[in-house]
Symmetry: C2
Subunit: 544 residues, 2 copies
């Protein structure tokens, strides 16, 4: 059975088996662009001819700086099936990070949305590998300092709408995506055709995202972020329709768009869905077709899951993944409940069951149980490690440290418990965990508890070196009323400590709670604990 698992096989489905199904895109002109997969296939062929004319060689990296659009979708197929490597650039990263990634990947061409031109023009002079640029969505009237520049539609027009696709090996590279690492430089994760194919199948299973030929999927998760969770490939595999929101990510825009094209399933980060919930609650939208939301990228608050399901009748699939996992790790879709179960929403707020095909284990991290496999009792936390057909085995450049353990597992860097049903519950990031007197303290659990307090807006907890205990937790808190100085700080601190002691063991309670104006964040909006720890150390040293 010499049938290679390649994206070309999925592309062939676009050509015929699912050719009547549609792709919708919200465009800059306030209109919805719509065409069939059959139409799309012909343009993908034209694009492949264009790649030939751009003097690319098989294996070359082709960069994209783009929103979720039909053009980006065309590149998702044309580049890897032509034999190139699609390098999706995260438009939210800093100029320095973008330059670093483009240079390390040696991108030969960059396809850019007209709305993102300023971003690219700013860094273009520093990009030595890039031989040419292609402008999408704009036309010849669009002025740019990029050079040489081609116009996407001109390129396509010049090519035939059929193409003699090469036969590819399934282990060939298809895509490249950098992790937005909070430590060190971003690291490139290289996906093979095989891993993308298998990941697409996995995404369609009933107990993951359950994609089917009767779905219309709206990936709100960006296509520059871990392949938009594999949805573009998965949708074509099963013949689900696609709805791309373009750059229009405000709740009101998403709500109108998903109503207009009858979206059945949407996927994105929790912050988006909070806004969407409020918008849909106005009752101005007809959304009977919207069956489920897939939530990933960060933990979805329990209350929001419950509100969506009970008030709007929309199921929430809570998912967890990582760029290194293509990114599918776990979902709550396969959880089983008794009808009498009062813990449904506690369970649904956890990370869920490993996708079928993915293996998981937890290992001890403390000296007493170092690297020993820990029980699935829902209580014992350990280092979460995974392996499976869509887990990457090395980073793009060999200069980065090895990705896998000696026995072939990927260490996620997360600390997790697993219950007897196999449900994963992340306790903390491994590097954020506080080790105090030979015991673990979860910074995440403390943060969540602090942020549940009515007077607290944001809170972060990090480890502070301690001579006696090794480490002790330190909390930084931003109050809702930011004029900290006018408040009785001591009282507030005591109040918080008393509140925490209701839930946590005594040794978990931070002796030191500082009230700050602002918490440093990374480019993608996460707490920058690296920077916070450095600042804490500096203050400590200064004090000593």
């Amino acid at each position: 059975m010499n049938y290679p698992l390649t994206l070309s096989a999925i592309l062939r489905r676009m050509k015929q088996a699912v050719s009547t199904r549609k792709v919708f895109t919200q465009t800059n002109q306030g209109k919805i662009h719509c065409y069939s997969y059959g139409d799309c296939y012909r343009r993908v062929c034209q694009l492949a001819h264009a790649l030939n004319r751009l003097n690319l060689k098989p294996g070359d990296r082709v960069g994209t700086l783009a929103w979720n659009t039909f053009q980006h979708f065309e590149l998702y197929f044309a580049v890897p099936c032509w034999g190139g490597v699609l390098h999706t650039l995260n438009l939210r990263l800093s100029s320095e990070q973008l330059i670093y990634m483009i240079d390390e990947a040696q991108d030969q061409v960059i396809f850019v949305d007209e709305t993102l031109l300023p971003l690219l023009e700013k860094i273009a002079p520093k990009l030595s590998s890039v031989k040419s640029y292609v402008l999408m969505g704009g036309d010849r009237s669009q002025k740019t300092t990029l050079s040489p520049v081609f116009y996407y539609e001109d390129l396509l027009e010049a090519g035939f709408d059929c193409f003699d696709w090469p036969e590819l090996h399934e282990e060939m590279a298809a895509g490249l995506c950098y992790t937005s690492g909070t430590t060190g430089h971003p690291k490139g994760v290289l996906y093979s055709h095989r891993s993308q194919y298998l990941h697409a199948m996995a995404v369609c299973l009933v107990d993951t995202l359950g994609l089917s030929a009767r779905d219309t999927v709206m990936p709100v998760v960006p296509m520059f972020h871990a392949n938009a969770w594999g949805l573009p490939y998965a949708a074509v595999l099963v013949g689900a329709q696609l709805a791309f929101p373009g750059p229009f990510l405000k709740a009101i825009d998403l709500a109108s768009f998903l109503q207009e094209v009858s979206v059945t399933v949407a996927a994105g980060v929790p912050t988006l869905w909070l806004g969407l919930f409020q918008e849909l609650k106005t009752g101005q939208y007809k959304t009977d077709h919207l069956q489920r939301l897939v939530v990933g990228g960060a933990a979805m608050p329990r209350s929001l899951i419950e509100s969506f399901e009970k008030e709007l009748g929309i199921s929430i699939i809570h998912a967890w993944g990582m760029t290194e996992l293509s990114p599918l790790g776990t979902t709550t879709a396969g959880l089983r409940f008794d009808s009498s179960d009062s813990q449904i929403y506690d369970q649904k707020a956890k990370q869920g069951l490993p996708a079928p095909g993915l293996e998981v284990r937890i290992l001890g991290d403390l000296p007493r149980d170092l690297n020993e496999e820990l029980p699935w009792d829902g209580k014992t936390p350990g280092k979460l490690q995974v392996r499976g057909p869509w887990v990457v085995s090395s980073y793009f450049q060999a200069s980065h440290p090895a990705l896998l353990t000696q026995d072939g597992w990927f260490d996620t860097g997360d600390i997790s418990t697993i219950d007897p049903q196999g449900c994963i519950h992340l306790v903390d990031r491994s590097k954020d965990l506080i080790k105090s007197g030979g015991e673990w303290i979860s910074s995440m659990a403390l943060e969540n508890a602090l942020m549940a307090h009515p007077e607290v807006m944001e809170a972060v907890v990090v480890a502070m070196p301690d001579q006696k205990w090794g480490e002790r937790p330190l909390a930084w808190v931003v109050l809702k009323n930011k004029s900290v100085s006018t408040l009785p700080v001591k009282t507030l601190k005591d109040k918080l400590q008393i509140e925490l002691s209701k839930t946590f063991a005594k040794f978990w309670i931070p002796e030191k709670i500082d009230f700050v104006q602002e918490i440093p964040k990374t480019s993608i909006g996460k707490f920058d604990k690296k920077k916070i720890r450095e600042q804490v150390l500096k203050e400590q040293t200064g004090l000593n």
Copy 2:
């Protein structure tokens, strides 16, 4: 991402990820045997130790002559994961065919159900390759002429309940199943670990059989028939429970069993479901849990599909496959209907959409369009060819003709149309099609029309050589009142011809309709058209 796709990976899920899920078996003692996947895993380990003690070598074929039971299920995992090849023997074949298959496969050991002992004892003296036999379900008190013979439970008891499984390559052989060919000797179809793994994933997709962790699956389709449609592996992959009916296939037994263990999905051939429908219609069973029936192996009558769905609220998934396809080909699960659609049940009686991952095409078979790819217009019939990750590329022994076309497709031997949505509708077996004056006549369509006549019990139509037209259709009809001689044959024949001419073109109508007492059938109950054609030729020659 060096992660081999092997059944061992699925076995590891049984050990832990889905270990709490259960397996039920209807036993000879009228009781239901029940254990968890975790229990099962420990016995699979014990069985692997037993394979060592039976002096088997990696790659050796291990035969099974058994019903759907937990012991057979244990063999499904132990044999391939230990490194052997599981050869499931079709207990409905003739002694000659069984001897042929066991000899060609060079089975070293045969595991046999106690109830099937007589069948095996009869042929054992002629089996030169078999070194030993293992008796399942019985105990030491069971007398047998087989020698040397071991008792399954004794073998297991002697082994540890953990095992150091070998690392296997995904291309290694895992299973062997013979096609019950109506022409020539049976042919062995060899499945690799990779094809079984990918097939298991495919079976769980929403638009195929949609297996999930919340299902309890009852494979009524025999485990000796194309891996019970891959259900044993698929169930463990996603954590669905399994319910094995043993040899108890009567409607009343199946109905009680599926009620007892709350089956959500059952799979088998149409004849079974007709009986089950009548049984469930009595209203004596509580079957709210039974959501869907998967029907394959033969076409399900449209009326029965409608009855199940409308009267019992049970969805029918109509599926088509072949041993050479592992066996999943198409299902109706992914069909899309408008609510206003009046043709729903016509569509559901067709074969459905290709499983995601499987590619299909139809090629011309007549001189004017020979091997030309034909349009998907729902009207033009052609030779149905497929390719995909679970389509086998060669038969077990090289002496059989090549399986694939020069460009890598498997010719199914079926003639089919495909509509624009991709829905497959089988018109006839290629070799049964009648070619008259350069046009096609479907023997199957004529047979169905004849059998719809109230006075007809069975009807078969075959090609009869014809000097002028090349071939002409000839019909054999068995009347419900079999005493043919007392009936005005001429009148009946005219009546049938007039009836047919209401539906079919004039050149389709058989000039010759013979009334017979009986139609020859194969060992598995299909019309033996080979034998019929031989008889027709003999008569024709005799007459000339």
